[in-house]
Symmetry: C4
Subunit: 224 residues, 4 copies
């Protein structure tokens, strides 16, 4: 299999896999969220939810394996595609791979309609939102049974996540368990980088808006 045919098959796979992967991602998050939040469900329902998230994970693993095979590489694939490897190990991190969805969408629809900075704001913001939701769920799951915990409801956890991602950090509620804090540190690392990209791009958008006289982006006369 030469490099050219490999590239073609890789692209064809990505086109085929995009929709199932997207559905599996949403199913994974929905199944996990229901598992964490709906504590009143019968045990059977939790088994079903576990099966759903397991199946979604399996889709991630299959996609990873096919990519590995199509790449024609040995173990080097694991480090070179470290983000994919990370997502296969910790599927809750899939929002980090949302940029990849962007690549696929782009290949289908040709040139993007939004400006560069608007795209970064949109994709990073969406990615941070989904990651923040996953993080709030995971921290809540660790903290809810802990003694002396200050995060006692999912609302507290969401409030804590927002104040963390904005780097405000009131500290009125904060994780106290070792695992809760570990997840929190991961959330800071991922989320702050993403939100730094959002803020930086938003500044650039503002600057461009102010550097033009007219404005094609929303409130300009329609005839222009």
């Amino acid at each position: 299999m030469d490099a050219d045919s490999r590239a073609r098959r890789w692209e064809r796979w990505e086109g085929h896999a995009a929709l199932p992967l997207g559905i599996a991602s949403l199913l994974y998050l929905a199944g996990y969220a229901t598992h964490v939040l709906a504590t009143g469900l019968p045990p059977l329902a939790h088994d079903v939810l576990r099966a759903v998230t397991g199946a979604a994970w399996a889709v991630f693993v299959i996609d990873y394996a096919v990519h590995w095979r199509l790449s024609g590489r040995g173990p080097g694939f694991v480090t070179r595609h470290w983000l994919d490897t990370l997502v296969v190990l910790l599927p809750l991190l899939w929002p980090l791979r949302i940029v990849r969805l962007y690549d696929v969408v782009l290949r289908r629809h040709g040139r993007p309609r939004l400006t560069l900075h608007a795209r970064v704001v949109l994709y990073s913001g969406l990615s941070a939102l989904l990651l923040g939701f996953s993080g709030a769920l995971a921290v809540y799951q660790q903290e809810r049974g802990a003694p002396h915990a200050t995060i006692r409801s999912f609302g507290d956890s969401v409030w804590w996540t927002c104040s963390t991602l904005a780097t405000v950090g009131y500290g009125d509620v904060a994780p106290v368990t070792p695992w809760g804090r570990t997840i929190a540190v991961g959330l800071m690392a991922c989320g702050l980088a993403l939100l730094g990209a959002v803020t930086g791009s938003f500044s650039s958008l503002m600057l461009r808006r102010f550097s033009r006289e007219g404005d094609e982006n929303g409130e300009s006369p329609p005839g222009r």
Copy 2:
């Protein structure tokens, strides 16, 4: 109605509407502030204040409707002009539209006198200031009656808003009610983006100041 005549009518409308919109915006904020802060007023005065804010809101709605009609679009107007739509639904967010005022002022007075970065600092800062004031009012209204609230006076609320917008977040006072926290998250999202623009532009101003030998901006010899 062709596109050219539409653009002309759009611009003429914006010119006519700028002053009433500005007055309505200030009346809305003043009315809301008095309603929240002057708790000792007789019920009749609060009815008057409600009427004032309602009338100001009506001005926003009329402006939105005229823009929609002049745009010659169908429902696509709602998403394309999403900022205007948001302000019509939540009039307290009108400071976000202060950039639009800038466009109108610019069209009247020709070229701006301030440099690009100074304009971004000025407009973003003003916008953040007004938004922070509105946010402090709204959070105070939610929190003041809540049990275990730490925000107990409007001064506390302003102090909390400042520490939030600066991303310092001491946490000595913080909202505890669900609605107060929801408003707080919105304030973080809007305010931090605006202040990111202010800080970034200020850095650029400093850099430009240091990259020149002379200085035309304030302390230079008057003869240059």
Copy 3:
């Protein structure tokens, strides 16, 4: 007096005034610091300190008046040179004018030796340091007698100032008096902008360091 001779006289004045202004600035800060911190001094010593800071303030006022006269402007001078006006009203803010010292130094010594970003880091950092010290003094003066105050020593106040300027904001100590909080908000506004400039410039320095193979700034072979 034509514009050219005005510019010459302005520059000559700045050259003459630089040294006395620098001494007055340091005397003001030293006098104020001693007044706040040395509570055990006899009343007479505090009178002397008040006289010293008063004299330093007078130097600022004279410099402002001469500049106003030399500018040949009317009341427009007050708004155009708003930073000077602010410093005359609140002399504790003089570190904000440290950039001006830079202009004078530059005019004497010709081309600067440090790179652009290194100069921004140096001057903004120095300015933030002095401003932070002044802010810590002023907040301590407001808070030390207040009931329920958490800032109880000057060390607490310095710790609070550092955590504020870094936007960390632990909240273990925080001002509780209205005036203490007002000073705190001013400190956030000034300090964060300055430190934003420092961080941004430091990033640029790092980038430039990594974009070259060799390195002329500190650890390179001496022969280059």
Copy 4:
């Protein structure tokens, strides 16, 4: 000794010293960490650990002395190479000098394989990680015996360090001793600057990723 031969000898020394310096750096950190964390060891073991860290420090001092001699300068070396001077005085700060390792690696292997921004993210991130670990150790050593301390385990100290470096600053745990707070301020100053470089470079990476259609960095077709 002329400048050319000095430059050659300087480079040769750096090549020879790189490996011993790297080993000494890791030994210093490992020895200090064991000394702080393994409180149950017999006194003899602590003497051995003190000897190990002392020997590593001696390696730093020797390297500094050789550099000074090879530079052919007088006392000016101390201020010109202020970062090296600082590291010799406070060896815990050696992660700050990790950029220098980069120079040496570069000289051996020729052109770097990673892009500019990826290198800044990698080196600054690694530097911040090691510095954060050292800071957590040093703060924990100061705080663990203090009355009313909130940092009571090394886990608390790591959690506090992460929330500080991310500028979140919950304040649920915070240093209370003067030395602990002094170390904390140093950690803020170093760490925030480094992490500002990381975040800024990450934003640039995101922007570049979005500004291209294809992508050579991880998930692209292998044939490109």
